[in-house]
């Protein structure tokens, strides 16, 4: 890619449009704010109750005493709910020009206008554009935004929303999320249905000092299959932003869910998410995540393997440049016999960035025949970079195969010299090494996303040689 192209690509991430904000809950968080959010959305009483209960829990709970430093994060200083002017649309043409333009700069329509369909793109907190293939609807697949689901699919939401998967009591940021959540996606795949084309959603934060709290709920019934992709991008601001999303996945018997995400948050965003899947007999859950951008990321997708023969694959890649702290990992509970999990974690660190793998794998008594494999690799580019690995493994069952492995290394001058002697310049040589390094993640993603991931890393790598 030429320098001009790279420059052009970079601009799209710096970009911000002046969309009118329809509703602003004001800064700070109070019971009144929560009531207002619920009123504005015309929610049923039980949802308001749920929000208030979460708020009470949030107020009681202390900040986490482990992991990255969150002392600069002032939650009371962040606006909790924003919605762009304009009603929900079914047609791309009806999407406001300003918003379309923003997506343009993000390069999304390239991916979307061509082969892909079924885009639920989220502009700020609300989905403004929805399109779904007719054939899915015929099969009974539901794909809509979360607010709509509360109204249209109340029973399902009532049963699954922050109940037995991620209750608001789970952690401080899940509680905060429960109180002020807004937008996100709802996906329901009935028994035996396979959704061949990936379901996609894009989120953006576009207003100063705003928090985004989208909720994604995926229910895959017995023997179904779905691949959900989420991309996140936020432009640059000088103020600290907070993203505290929540993803709940229910994988039925023999069902297969893949959840892929490439996130490129603005460098002042705190990205604190809770993502969890409950997997029944012979179900498969796959988490693929690329975490770039953000000031602090704390992201530990979690799989509860509750049925015999259930499987989980976690693939994560983290990139931390100057001033960034990317703390990612995985949590897998092998709650049934013959369950399997693989965790593959890769990180790239440059400047004074910090990456950390933090993982917990637990095999309780009775989960015989379970297999666990964990692999962590770290690449470091500079003297100031830091990379830590903190795995925790608890095995209470003898009939288990468990292996953990990790390596850390610096791209050696020798390797680069070698490649230079083959006529490849230094920057290109590094890029090649990095591309090879992230290959396992890239190949799990549809082409457009893999290209975007590569581009993002290329942008980040630029000037790393100094």
């Amino acid at each position: 890619m030429s320098n001009e192209e790279v420059q052009k690509n970079r601009e799209r991430f710096q970009h911000k449009t002046d969309a009118d904000i329809k509703y602003d809950s004001g800064e700070g968080l109070s019971e009144e704010t929560v009531r207002e959010i619920s009123r504005e959305k015309d929610e049923p009483e039980w949802m308001l109750e749920k929000r208030l209960e979460a708020l009470r829990h949030y107020e009681r709970r202390p900040m986490p005493g482990w992991g990255p430093d969150l002392s600069d994060l002032d939650v009371s200083d962040i606006t909790h709910f924003k919605t762009a002017e304009g009603e929900q649309s079914d047609e791309w043409e009806e999407v406001p020009e300003e918003i379309e333009e923003t997506f343009d700069k993000l390069g999304i329509p390239d991916a979307e206008q061509e082969a892909l369909s079924g885009v639920g793109a989220q502009y700020e907190s609300e989905v403004v554009y929805q399109n779904m293939k007719d054939k899915w609807e015929e099969k009974g697949v539901i794909f809509c935004d979360m607010d709509e689901a509360v109204q249209e699919h109340e029973e399902l939401v009532k049963e699954y929303f922050m109940t037995r998967n991620v209750p608001p009591q789970d952690n401080k940021f899940a509680a905060l999320h429960g109180a002020v959540w807004s937008g996100g996606s709802f996906v329901y795949v009935p028994e035996g249905v396979e959704v061949e084309i990936p379901v996609q959603a894009y989120f953006r934060m576009n207003s100063k000092g705003m928090g985004q709290f989208e909720h994604t709920l995926i229910i895959a019934e017995e023997n179904s299959k779905v691949h959900y992709i989420e991309g996140c991008s936020a432009p640059q601001y000088t103020r600290n932003n907070l993203h505290a999303g929540c993803v709940e996945v229910f994988v039925g018997e023999d069902a297969h869910v893949q959840y892929s995400t490439v996130q490129n948050w603005s460098k002042n965003t705190y990205n604190l998410n809770t993502k969890r899947a409950k997997v029944k007999e012979d179900g498969v859950m796959e988490w693929v995540s690329g975490s770039m951008g953000s000031k602090v990321t704390m992201l530990y997708p979690s799989s509860h393997l509750n049925g015999e023969g259930a499987r989980a694959n976690h693939i994560t890649i983290g990139y931390a440049g100057d001033g960034q702290n990317i703390d990612t990992g995985a949590k897998v509970l092998h709650n049934a016999p013959n369950t399997k999990s693989t965790i593959e974690s890769k990180s790239i660190t440059q400047g004074d960035g910090r990456t950390n793998y933090r993982g917990l794998v637990r095999v309780p008594e009775g989960s015989h025949g379970s297999k666990v494999s964990i692999e962590c690799d770290a690449l470091m580019f500079s003297d100031e970079a830091t990379s830590d690995t903190e795995p925790y493994i608890e095995v209470k069952e003898d009939d288990v195969e468990m292996a953990h492995e990790a390596t850390v290394g610096r791209i050696g001058d020798e390797e680069i010299h070698y490649m230079q002697s083959r006529g490849i310049d230094e920057e290109e040589a590094k890029e090649m090494i990095v591309r090879g390094f992230i290959e396992p993640i890239a190949k799990e993603l549809p082409l457009e996303y893999a290209v975007e991931l590569n581009r993002l890393i290329q942008l980040e790598m630029e000037g790393s040689l100094g």
Partner: protein, 365 residues
Amino acid sequence: MNIQELRSEAEEKIPNLEHPESIRTPGRTWTRYPDDLDKQADLNQDIETDIKSEGDIEIYTGEEALDKAGQKAFDLIKSDENKINAIHSANLNSVIYAEVTGKAELHIKYKADGPVSSHLIVDTTQNSDLTLTEETRNQGFNTSFTEIYVGENSSVEYGAVEKPGKFSYSRRKAITKKYGSINWLNSMFDGDLNRTKIETVLKGDNSETEMTGAWYPTKDQHHDLSLHVRHIGDNTKCSMDSRSVVDHKARSLYEGLQKVEEDAVDTSSFQDQETLMLSDKAESDASPKLMIEDPNVEASHAAAAGTVEEKKQHYLESRGLNSDKAERLVVKGFFEPVMREIEVPEAKELIREEVQKKLEQKSEG
């Protein structure tokens, strides 16, 4: 400071100190300490100390040891580091200080019907070469502390066999000067609750350490080993390699931490821990950690847990061994690869004997 002063000073601090840190994961604390430890440790009980030495070594005990060691005593390991360290200091019933100036051997055995709180300080000058073993057999409460100063171009081979009674806490730490090397082989075979933390500070350039743990908790025993290394000097090397066998309802815990400081150039650091589980009521927890501040490093860590491989068992059974014998053979062989690394024949022999005893208990039970 004399022993009496040290004791009373430490005793005052006990109530205000916390227990040693322990890993916490959601819903679990890996090791919990009893609240009445200061009562279990009984001041002023006599113990039998058997010291054998040869070569270029001077040995001091009791008051004289503390006096000669001077600033070196309780410097690497502070008496107020945590509650148990203070209890240890308040109840010392053995203090030994050894000065090594050349090639030497030192073998110490602690034996008692009651509590043992032993403290050993070893200082090696440059170009010395020491083989050192500590063996503890007692009833009830045990604390075993070892501070080792490794001189320039000196090497220390250390072996410990822990056979305490009820509760045991061992704390061992070494610091190296340039080209120094310290190799640890620490084994745990008894104690209802046995926690050992070993630390090497590779301060001198080109210094090295090998850290090896072997433990075999059975019945309701809970054995917890932590190995920590800090790479500070340039071109330092560490290899951690530990094995545990866990049977009945016992619990094996392991924490390894390789910390590479910012200015530690050209570090290489490796870590491995393997657990053999003989019972489905047993538990094995492991946390092999890696913290890197400097990118110019080669490091890896690994951990694995599993049962006796069917293939191995089948092979041995096909050679006419019954399944019980086959399992025993696998267990015996399991510790050998890590023991090969370290040159302390006395400790290795004892470890083999203890493994044998455990296996005999197994067939009785």
